[in-house]
């Protein structure tokens, strides 16, 4: 099964929840960080990473000596990457989504295949006790504006890995509810939304729910930073809203200084020293079990 951990608002706790779940997950597992614009799961899980594998998008390059300037390609491009400026079209490769439409309509075959680097995929292993858990992350090239094509390449890589060795997947999704988050959530068997009980967090949580519900994936909730002074009214509102919408709240994670201290040291709170670590491991063993039951139940529903 594949669980996608998403949030709407950034900084709600997706990565912390993913990292904590990873340590308590029963059964074989693969971890994926799909927040390719700012991947950070590796900062908490410290995988041994192989060298990055660059990912490219095929884009058109105009052979100006062959082009007759007929302009057939111009209206084909839905992304404004082709403009008629003077006698010949001008191609803006950084705007191209790689659909291939211009290649299909050019009567002179005046386009050559060029490529734009989108970023890279990185494979690795996370050592968790005796276990060695495969780890996959994408990283967008600095300056690249488009993430869905890189996410699709990551998805193909993930499919290859799972074909060779089918295991459960925990995927740390990008924040927001636009193309990157939706692309990541598309392959989910269930979505776990991390909700921050602040006015901003609650607002974005509702946006996220509205967006992911349209994908037809079952959604459950974990509340983070519960018990923070000033947020109590918002917590009640969030619980009531989830109950009204029929969303199960599988766990409430406390706002706790020791958890933040562990995080600041590059460790999930489940790895904190002493009683704190023990409490968080217990908490997440419970959440992992409930999440599995939820995802399995949803699959049969």
């Amino acid at each position: 099964m594949r669980i996608v951990i998403a949030s709407g608002k950034g900084g709600a706790g997706k990565t912390t929840v993913t990292a904590c779940l990873a340590g308590q997950w029963a059964g074989e597992l693969l971890l994926a960080d799909a927040d390719v614009e700012a991947p950070n799961l590796h900062l908490l899980l410290h995988p041994d990473l192989e060298p990055p594998e660059p990912v490219f998008l095929e884009v058109p390059e105009l052979a100006a000596d062959v082009c007759t300037g007929c302009g057939a390609c111009r209206p084909m491009c839905a992304y404004g990457a082709i403009a008629m400026l003077g006698a010949k079209p001008v191609y803006f490769q950084e705007m191209c989504h790689g659909c291939g439409g211009c290649f299909a309509v050019c009567p002179e075959h005046a386009l050559r295949v060029a490529r734009r680097e989108l970023g890279a995929l990185l494979l690795g292993k996370v050592r968790a006790g005796e276990r060695s858990v495969p780890f996959l992350m994408g990283r967008t090239r600095v300056g690249e504006a488009m993430t869905p094509p890189l996410l699709r390449a990551q998805e193909r890589k993930l499919a290859d890995l799972l074909r060779a060795h089918p295991v459960d997947v925990l995927m740390d999704a990008p924040p927001g509810v636009s193309c990157p988050a939706m692309t990541a959530a598309r392959g989910a068997d269930a979505v776990l939304l991390v909700a921050e009980p602040t006015p901003f967090g609650f607002y974005d949580f509702k946006l996220a729910h509205a967006a992911f519900a349209q994908l037809g994936r079952p959604v459950s909730v974990v509340m983070n930073r519960v018990g923070m002074e000033g947020n109590l009214a918002c917590e009640d509102e969030l619980r009531a809203w989830c109950a009204g919408a029929g969303l199960p709240v599988l766990a409430e994670l406390p706002f706790q200084r020791e958890a933040a201290e562990a995080y600041a040291c590059g460790l999930p709170p489940t790895e904190a020293q002493g009683a704190t670590g023990r409490e968080w491991r217990q908490r997440f063993a419970g959440l992992a079990a409930k999440l599995r039951t939820f995802a399995e139940g949803a699959g049969h529903a």
């Binding site: 404004g80 403009a83 008629m84 400026l85 003077g86 803006f92 950084e94 705007m95």
Partner: protein, 116 residues
């Protein structure tokens, strides 16, 4: 020669719009007759991306030879140069008429690189 000045309003008295691709509109001035026409650019303000390229393409299609604006982005600049237009930047904080007078008396020079 015709010059297009990004403008917040329709006439020579209107203020220069500092934006190029997402300018409200353009006052097109014929430098010989000083006749001014207005072209609305409102549609490009709603474009998610590529507003500068779209706007450059539109102006090139109108037979304009020069553009005056505040800030011109790199893609828009490249598009304007590909179409063979001269680009005058940093023209904000004055009226369209004043901008055109600067061009007429030769006190401004075309840019060789985008300023945004």
């Amino acid at each position: 020669m015709k010059v297009a000045v990004s403008s917040e309003g329709p006439g020579l008295d209107s203020q220069v719009d500092p934006r190029f691709g997402r300018a409200g509109g353009f006052v097109i001035v014929d430098m010989e007759t000083m006749q001014a026409d207005y072209v609305d650019n409102g549609a490009s303000q709603a474009a998610a991306q590529g507003a500068g390229i779209q706007t450059a393409e539109k102006l090139a299609g109108l037979g304009v030879q020069a553009v005056m604006s505040g800030y011109v982005g790199p893609k828009a600049f490249m598009a304007l140069k590909a179409a063979g237009l001269d680009v005058y930047q940093d023209m904000e904080n004055r009226s369209v008429g004043d901008a055109v007078r600067c061009l007429a008396d030769g006190s401004v020079s075309p840019a060789s690189a985008p300023n945004k």
